[in-house]
Amino acid sequence: MKSLISIGDLTREEIVRLMELAAEFEKNPEQRLLQGRVIASLFFEPSTRTRLSFESAINRLGARVIGFSDATNTSVSKGESLHDTISVISNYCDMIVMRHSLEGAARYASEVASVPVVNAGDGANQHPSQTLLDLYSIKKTQGTLENLHVMMVGDLKYGRTVHSLLEALSHFNARFTFVSPEELRLPEEYRRYLSDRGLVFEEFEELDGRMEDVDILYMTRIQKERFNDPMEYERVKNAYVLRASMLEGTRDNMRVLHPLPRVGEIATDVDASPKAYYFEQTRNGVYARMAAICYLLGVKV
């Protein structure tokens, strides 16, 4: 029995396989491979977008969904431990998809549960299905995951999508450019991770004028609560805004990705550009999640 908790749990071969499965589901989304199965969708912390994406994937596979979209009306609010909640619900279903505000909650649940667990986000830690959809979006738009130049912009310190994506892309010899304010720079731990694997990266504080040979521009949101000084936030927020004019002179194959929601970091004039990919990216999430669910349940596609 296999769970999906952290992107680091997947080998290169498994990632490649999941990409193939996602492509298969995109070609033919109505495959009722999980007819008669029940999947629990446990959102101890609300996240409408992620939940609907998972539930759409589950429904398209023909399984039924049970669960809750926030924990307020459950036994959790009566003080039941995560251990007991998971032990009980494992008896009702064939798989658990869960989101929780505590870091490590999904790993712990996978040790308690008698069915596979899919981590749909555990605090600031991991959100592997987001990484799979990012990877699938990259694969689809570039035709490959190998040897790409990926520029990551914004909050590189706290952004878990950034950390997981670079971890996954490290299997495929990516080259990175990191653009962030000093206070949101990529942590030492991840810089060391890349250096240890012999991967090339550069770091800059300004966004302008470095995109001519970029394949993937991965934008992230800079959150106000990360700053002690509100003035500093105002300064930084405006310094990392992508505008349509900045896309001139970039490669034809270049695509702009964003895990969403965006606030102001991508100007709306970018939306009309053929290089804007962040809305299609969300559709890929359904296929990537269908792939992950079937892979973990060992269902033949």
Binding site: L102, E103, A105, R107, G123, E189
Partner: protein, 150 residues
């Protein structure tokens, strides 16, 4: 006090364990690991700020009739990687062991991340021991964060 008097102290143990080459700063951690602070049974001598050629200063623990388990010795290694654990029988050292930094630590150490599930749900902590610039640090099995002070 003559030199002979000093050696008499070591020889006080007929059977038991001498833990030598403990960094002074780690002494009380090791006392906690071995549960010596609540031990009303074994005779023991604890010395600290002693001279050491190799370390400058060191601490030493001598306990009669007590032989720490492998798990305890692994934990000692986290705080005192250069410690020696000597087993004494009939006043003689019969075994001299270098401690070994373990690959994994369970329980005992708390995760430094306040948002880690282990700090909220009564889960036993579990860490992988990894070297960071030669120093052992603990990577949490659950939240994946690094605990550097323990």
């Amino acid at each position: 006090m003559t030199t002979q008097d000093k050696t008499m102290e070591v020889r006080l143990i007929e059977n038991g364990t001498v833990i030598d080459h403990i960094p002074v700063a780690a002494l009380f951690k090791i006392i906690t690991i071995l549960g010596l602070d609540g031990d009303t049974e074994h005779r023991m001598t604890i010395g600290t700020n002693l001279e050491s050629k190799r370390m400058g200063t060191k601490a030493i623990i001598k306990i009669a009739d007590r032989y720490p388990a492998e798990g305890e010795i692994d934990r000692i290694a986290l705080f005192a990687p250069q410690a020696r654990v000597n087993t004494i029988r009939d006043f003689a050292v019969v075994e001299k062991r270098h401690v070994r930094v373990p690959d994994e630590v369970r329980g005992f150490v708390r995760c430094a991340n306040p948002m880690c599930v282990t700090n909220h749900e009564g889960v036993e902590t579990a860490f992988r021991v990894v070297a960071e610039e030669g120093v052992p640090v603990l990577k949490c099995r659950y939240c994946e964060k690094t605990t550097r002070r323990f």
